[in-house]
Symmetry: C2
Subunit: 254 residues, 2 copies
C-alpha cells in the first residue's frame, strides 16, 4: 500500500487525514447528516492501514464534528440547539402565574415537554449543606428530575431543600403543583429575592452519557443554582444539560 502524496512527512498521518476531512466538512463538501467516505475508501485514498484511518475519524468524533453509526457509516453531526432563557424562567411573573417552568420555552417553540420526577428524603452531601448553610449531614428533600423535549433527554437536575422547610409540603410530592417549587416556597412565606447560577462545562460521566443519550464528543454544561430569600439560601439545584441541545441565555443590567 503506497502512501498518498496528500500526506506530508513530519506530521502524523492520522492528524493530517483528520485535518483534510475537517476542512472538507467546513468547506461544505459534506453537509450536516451526510455520510463521510467509508474506512475502506479512506484507506485506499490515503494508502494507510485501517487503524490509522480510524484514529483520524476518532479525532473528528471527539471534536463533535462527526458521529459513527455501526453498520451504516460515519456522518457529519447535526446541531439544533434549544433555547433556554434563564431570566424569564426565574422571574416571579412567570412562576407566579402558575406556569410550569418550561412552558415559555417549549410552547413558544412548538415542542412537547416531558419530565420524570423522583422525590426522596436523605442527608445533604457536604457541598450542598455548605451552600444551603445548614449543618453537614442535615436532612434534605431531594427532587431528582429528567427533562425531555420531543422525547430527547435534555437535562438532569437534583434540587435540594432543607427538610425543615419542605417536608410535609407539596414540594415533597412528585407533582409540586402549579408554578412548581418556587411558587410553593413563596406560599410558605419564603419570598425569593434572587438566584445565583454557577456555570461550568466538562465531559460527561458514562452515567450521564447513558441518561442524556449523549453523542461522543458532546460536553455537558453544569449549572449550580442557589435560590435566596432575604435571609439566606433555601434551595440548591444541581443541573446537568446536554450542551448539544442547549443555549443558556442571561440578561445582565448595566
Amino acid at each position: 500500500m503506497e502512501r498518498s502524496r496528500e500526506l506530508r512527512p513530519g506530521q502524523p498521518a492520522y492528524r493530517q487525514i483528520a485535518e483534510i476531512m475537517r476542512a472538507s466538512i467546513q468547506a461544505g463538501q459534506f453537509a450536516e447528516g451526510d455520510r463521510l467516505p467509508s474506512e475502506t475508501q479512506l484507506m485506499e485514498r490515503f494508502g494507510v492501514a485501517r487503524m490509522t484511518v480510524r484514529a483520524a475519524l476518532q479525532v473528528l468524533q471527539h471534536e463533535g464534528l462527526a458521529v459513527a453509526e455501526h453498520g451504516r457509516g460515519v456522518f457529519v453531526r447535526r446541531r439544533q440547539p434549544f433555547r433556554r432563557r434563564s431570566v424569564q424562567r426565574l422571574s416571579r411573573r412567570h412562576w407566579g402565574q402558575g406556569k410550569a417552568m418550561w412552558e415559555a420555552d417549549t410552547a413558544a417553540q412548538n415542542r412537547s415537554f416531558t419530565a420524570t420526577v423522583d422525590v426522596s428524603r436523605g442527608r445533604a452531601p457536604d457541598e450542598i449543606a455548605e451552600r444551603l448553610r445548614v449543618p453537614a449531614g442535615s436532612e434534605v428533600i431531594v427532587r431528582r428530575r429528567l427533562h425531555s423535549v420531543d422525547g430527547q433527554p435534555l437535562q438532569l437536575s437534583a434540587a435540594y431543600l432543607p427538610a425543615e422547610i419542605a417536608a410535609g409540603t407539596p414540594i415533597a410530592e412528585p407533582d409540586a403543583g402549579p408554578g412548581g417549587t418556587y411558587a410553593r416556597l413563596d406560599e410558605l412565606g419564603f419570598r425569593l429575592k434572587r438566584f445565583v447560577e454557577e456555570v461550568q462545562a466538562r465531559m460527561p460521566t458514562p452515567e450521564e452519557v447513558r441518561r442524556l443519550a449523549l453523542l461522543p464528543g458532546v460536553p455537558v454544561i453544569t449549572v449550580t443554582r442557589v435560590a435566596y430569600t432575604s435571609t439566606g439560601p433555601v434551595e440548591v439545584n444541581e443541573i446537568v444539560v446536554n450542551s448539544d441541545l442547549y443555549v443558556l441565555e442571561y440578561e445582565i443590567p448595566a
Copy 2:
C-alpha cells in the same frame, strides 16, 4: 497472554479497563497529579495487547480525567477553576470607576493578569451584522484579545462594534483606556442599559486547542455577549473560554 479474570466477557475489554481505572481514581486510590500504572503494567495486569490498554487510557483522557505526558506517564488531571462574576464585571459601578474588566476577579484572587490586543477594521460576518442590526457586510472595528492569568491562556475574545460608532475613538486603539470599551461608549453618549449573554459549550477546534493550551478532553464555553443601549445593540463580543479554568457566575433577580 492470558486474560485477567477481572474482565468479563460481553463488554469490550477496553471499556472495562477504563471503568476499573476510573473507579480507582474516584475512590481516591490515585489523587490529582498521581501517575497511573504504565501501559506495560496494565498490559500485564489485564492480559491484553498494548492497543487495548491505550484505548482504555484514551477513554479516560477524553473524559478529562487523565492526561498523558510523552515519556513520563499518564497522570490524573488537576483542576483549579478560576471564578468570573458576570454581574460584577458588567456593572456600571465597576467600569464606571475606570477599573480594568479583570481587576475585580484577579486582584481578589491574587493572580497576575495579562492580555494581548489586536485591533482591526473590516466587514462584519453575517451573524455579527445580524446581531448588531446593521446591513450585512457593514464596516466594523474588531478588538481581538487573548487573556491570560499567571501566564496561562484563559480566554479568547473578539468584540465587534460598528465603525460608524467606534472608528477614530479610543475604542479603535489597542489600549481603549481606563474602564475599557464600555466606559468609552458611555462617554460617547451610548448609555448602556443591559447585556445579554448566550452560553454554550462544545469541543474546541485545533486552533483553539493551540491558542488556549487546552488539554485533551477539555471543552470550551462560548459566550456571545450583546451590549444594548435603550435604542439597540452597540457591541457584540464572541468569547471562548477554557472551561477547565473557569466558573461563570450569574445573578438573577426573582
